[in-house]
Symmetry: C2
Subunit: 463 residues, 2 copies
């Protein structure tokens, strides 16, 4: 058999997981692997950028899991950094790449993986390209913000109060800046319900972050030198010498769209279970550029997280390598820690459940992370959303202090398995005073939710 060539477009989590897995199963004599990456780094933790900015991580290299040299030497994977794929030609089965010197190079392939990731959502605002306005996506972005701090930035405005926005806000407060978070919506962290979001807002204020809600940004003002001066919102002007765009990301699919790959309603590349393009089964795609299915809503979602990118990349690599693996979708699990508050979610929120056609009951319980008498017991609020009648767990949220949030994984597993809250009350979860009260908060919440379902059912049947 002639040697095949695999070209991987994108050298971060999804692409390099695919490349590594393919290599594990196929030798360099059988499969040549070339990865192209427009940035300077491979396989880095974008999620670590706020900690790099905040100084908890000392330098950008610490966030790099594997360097191009490692891939070359240890995996015989050729990584071309600062090479940008500009054309994906499916008829010719070739990728046209722009080299660092501006020249073009054509890479023929037998197989191709599209792992072009996501790009920060940049609002179409006057002044958004001013000097001092930064997204948070690449290590380069993190380094640019660090440089701004070193250059004396004092007043930061974070646009958008989602995960990355809040993590950056905390990092900047920790570095001594005055920080204002401006959010168009009515609560920070719109991925949790308003009752949980209110706790987040409270924690931010306690940490001297100014929180401005219901304030859409109208413009970014630059001075005569082109450097940002202020953020203009519906309520007025907020002075700023540093602006962070924390508005989330969108799939980076220019190349895929131009090549004719089918995109879904979320803007991501549509794939089948084995991560092949639905329109072009000869093309693999993985990571932040694809859309996937939510196992509860049964609807397509764009879920740009490192976990999914790694899993999907691995699945692509196994399949290219001659094995068999499929991606089973997601349940929308996410976690963060902001201002000493741990916040986690899985499944559907109330509004997501409503939009998906579900009717449900909720239970919210206050408890502690450890036995109440044990030192270090911290508060934890657990919310469950259970379907009416069936009692199936549709979603869950946790807000609390140290030791609270990782409990979301039990709930994510229960959602994944379509457990009912009644079934969950029996779960044999671990107990010892340093780890939980004798009734773990998850079990108390399950009991309350099961009681609510039971009472509601009696009403339904009785009425």
């Amino acid at each position: 058999m002639a040697r095949e060539r695999l070209v991987v477009i994108g050298g971060d989590a999804a692409g390099m997981s695919a490349a590594s897995q393919a290599r594990r199963r196929r030798s360099p004599d059988d499969l040549e692997i070339v990865a192209v990456e427009r940035g300077r780094h491979t396989s880095y933790s974008a999620c670590g950028i706020p900690y790099l900015v905040g100084g908890m991580v000392s330098d950008a290299e610490a966030l790099v899991v594997r360097t191009p040299a490692t891939f070359r030497e240890r995996y015989a994977i050729d990584v071309l950094v600062e090479h940008e794929a500009v054309v994906l030609d499916l008829d010719r089965r070739a990728v046209v790449v722009r080299q660092p010197d501006g020249g073009r190079r054509v890479l023929d392939f037998d197989q191709v993986v599209v792992a072009t990731g996501a790009v920060p959502r940049r609002p179409d605002l006057p002044g958004v390209d001013a000097v001092g306005v930064h997204g948070v996506q690449t290590l380069g972005d993190g380094e640019a913000v660090r440089a701004a701090l070193a250059a004396g930035a004092r007043q930061a405005v974070v646009v958008g109060a989602g995960y990355i926005g809040l993590e950056m806000a905390e990092a900047l407060v920790n570095r001594g800046l005055a920080v204002t978070v401006v959010e168009a919506g009515p609560q920070p962290m719109s991925t949790v319900d308003p009752d949980m979001g209110a706790m987040v807002a409270e924690a931010m204020r306690t940490m001297d972050i100014t929180v401005r809600l219901n304030e859409p940004v109208r413009a970014i003002e630059a001075g005569p030198d082109g450097a940002v001066r202020a953020v203009v919102t519906s309520m007025g002007e907020v002075p700023a010498d540093l602006v962070i765009l924390g508005l989330g990301v969108v799939p980076n699919t220019e190349l895929a769209r131009a090549a004719g790959l089918a995109l879904g309603p979320t803007g991501g590349i549509r794939t089948d279970a084995s991560m092949r393009s639905v329109s072009h089964p000869g093309v693999w795609a993985a990571g932040d550029c694809v859309e996937t299915m939510h196992r509860v809503s049964m609807a397509p979602v764009h879920a740009p997280l490192g976990t999914h990118a790694n899993k999907q990349g691995r699945i692509v690599g196994i399949n290219i390598g001659g094995g068999y693996a499929t991606f089973p979708g997601v349940v929308g699990t996410a976690v963060t820690r902001v201002c000493d508050l741990e916040i986690a979610r899985t499944g559907l929120t109330e509004s997501e459940a409503t939009r998906s056609g579900f009717r449900f009951l909720t239970a919210v319980v206050e408890s502690t992370t450890r036995a109440g008498y044990y030192p270090g017991a911290e508060p934890i609020t657990t919310k469950l959303i259970a379907e009416k009648r069936s009692g199936r767990l549709l979603g869950a949220q946790i807000v609390g202090r140290d030791g609270a949030a990782k409990r979301i994984d039990v709930l994510a597993t229960a959602v994944w398995q379509s457990m009912t809250v009644e079934e969950m009350t029996g779960l044999d979860l671990s107990y010892a005073p340093p780890f939980a009260p004798v009734w773990d908060p998850v079990l108390i919440a399950a009991r309350r939710a099961a009681e609510a379902v039971e009472v509601d059912l009696a009403d339904l049947v009785g009425g």
Copy 2:
């Protein structure tokens, strides 16, 4: 309808949960509830005793969840403390109780709950009743050990290296005593596999606990004053002025046995799913005095843990109250923290799996509790045991530092749901640098185990 009387024998977790739940559903006009408890306390956390001894909890009252007065005033439940049930007469439907003054009293009942708990296993050793030899079961035991410390105890020997033995050993080291743990078996913590047990032994030695393995105790020596002087093992004499029996507990079923209630092979009372005695369906039983079913081995087990006692008591109370609930068995989850090491298990260990007729593959992975670059990332070792061919998760163990052990709950849920390790690789577990590496240790372990199952299957089919 005439007012019924419910008599609850045993005023700790199981009994008082049953009483409270029954009260929630039935008013005092409809159901009189009397609980008898031979000790002085109700509803206390026996699991908290090591922390009481170690000084992390300042006094015994902190471990009492609800006092007899609270039960009386808030729940209209009459609790007779220092009353011991001495006869359970099922024909007459009456309990004979010994009162504090030694007098007898007869309590007729319409319904009865047997919640007599467990008693520490007391080996049949010469000298075991010497002054200074303590079990760890009641708050009184905890107070007695504290009194021994106050009286100047210096050298402690803990007999048995299970959960309670190790927790007590650490507590006593923290109080400045010289502590030796003597264990008849080849490893501490026999509820985990030898490879994991070795890590526990290492941590104990690091903390200056002397660990003597493979040393059965032959006798306990007392001085002429009747006070303990030394523990005699197969290898010689270990001086001691305080001896803790950490040999586990056995169901306290004297009363039940005399009444003719069927006991199972583990010595616990046999119940049906609704927690009624299998031989006398008019009698309820719950907590450490019953045996239950292990959902993986499908065999009866005695699982004396506060979590099960609370759940079973609640189920009894719901059923007495006119509702419907059943206990679904256990999967053998347990957790502890000893010498800064967190240790957790669920499902079956290797030896338990073998004894239960399973053949299996294992995966052991070393990882960190947080992203490697994030401050406070601690080591975690995760072991999975997966059935051959099916790949079903049979059991899991975790040993690690801060933040490691509570991950066992995800694995307990997966065992509960009979998930395969392959299915588990898809789980949407939470990720952010303060909480996990991008591949959570649970997922890495699932991948490894799934690969082992796949390779083995190829061999099976190929051979």
